[in-house]
Symmetry: C2
Subunit: 228 residues, 2 copies
């Protein structure tokens, strides 16, 4: 990892790590801000396990500790979890609509566990690589959601009541995909290890929403995607 | 179950069911309000499984469907989850302090799953039997926490963005334990099946915080506790 700046030197932070480009960049950004990152990786019934394998590879390369948490939602409700549902292609997504890959309550669940983990290990912040610019329209990726969740923590956790609510930090939320990639290149993020595709084959499908957003980002930076 | 009133006739609701007195009463209150309850029961590494067994017995007696969700937090941080930690006795609890049985982020995690479940099955409400009068001082049992969580749902879920946020309903939040028991008796709650003790023996220990609050409630109503 690149050199740290110092403002939060040695303070622990929990980083939600999915194996994708955004969360890997967020991990390196947390370290850059002086935090000691503890990665939290979820297996939540994704269509494939490639993503979580890559998350582990990223955490190891970064030299960070990690926890894998397996939570199986016995209910369906998302094409991201149900192999029988077709995945929407980017060009077919109505950007006014929330797509079928939306997982009900996903970021609320992830953040809740991250906050519980943070309280248990004495971390002062939780980092999440959500982005509300080049994104899929999920409501739980927008700044107004995170602001409200932060207020909920002030009121509903021991740390919050003691005036030290765990901070929810979203360093990428207002960046374009190209800006995220430029930041990551500067921080030395191993993008060759990251996996963004909703499918789990040997190579990214190139057509799902996540692939299209990633391609657009590397094209804007004028770089070949090191993950191929 | 007792007769329903009609205002929400046939609408689904998710009810968080722990096996204790409060959540059982909440289940019957949800039914009384006209909802079709779907119970959500957690195994989250409690010191014993008696509680969840009793939750299943209550759901079955009420004739409601239920889901059991197993989530193991790999981190500790609560005497409620760690058999090696002593449980505090009620008289030793400083009521200005949050006790050691506090589980970091527990109700946020439970509610997050309940909301995800509710969105997936098309339920319009989530019931939780939290109480901020005769309670243990957990910050995530207070009305101001639930109000903020509700706002978070308005902003961070598909239903919320569409103006139909899942309602978080806390019918017991401002009742004393005695008032809760009186309500439950009227609704026919099978209190003989409920288990409140933090320990998991054959009989309640009678000294933990939860036992003491329960005893106080039955004494105020002038009734013997049917669970013995």
């Amino acid at each position: 990892m690149a050199e740290r700046s110092t403002p939060n030197s040695g303070r622990k932070a929990v980083v939600l790590l999915s194996g994708g480009l955004d969360s890997a960049t967020t991990l390196y950004a947390a370290h850059r801000q002086g935090y000691v990152p503890h990665c939290l990786i979820f297996r939540y019934g994704q269509r494939h396990q490639k993503e979580t394998r890559q998350a582990v590879a990223v955490a190891r390369t970064a030299g960070c500790g990690y926890q894998i948490l397996k939570i199986i939602l016995p209910w369906q409700g998302s094409s991201l979890l149900n192999k029988k549902s077709p995945l929407p292609r980017r060009e077919k997504i109505d950007l006014q609509e929330i797509p079928s890959t939306y997982v009900p309550g996903r970021n609320i669940i992830f953040l809740s566990f991250a906050v519980s983990y943070a309280e248990a290990i004495g971390a002062s912040a939780v980092f999440i690589g959500a982005n509300a610019i080049d994104y899929s329209g999920y409501p739980d990726c927008r700044p107004e959601f995170f602001q409200s969740f932060q207020e909920t923590l002030r009121r509903g956790t021991k740390a919050g009541v003691n005036g030290k609510a765990i901070k929810i930090l979203t360093p990428l939320v207002n960046l374009t995909k190209a800006q995220i990639i430029r930041l990551g290149m500067k921080l030395g993020v191993p993008y060759e290890l990251t996996w963004s595709c909703y499918q789990g084959g040997r190579k990214p499908c190139g057509t799902c929403d996540s692939c299209v957003l990633r391609k657009k980002g590397f094209a804007a930076v004028g770089m070949a995607d090191p993950a191929g």
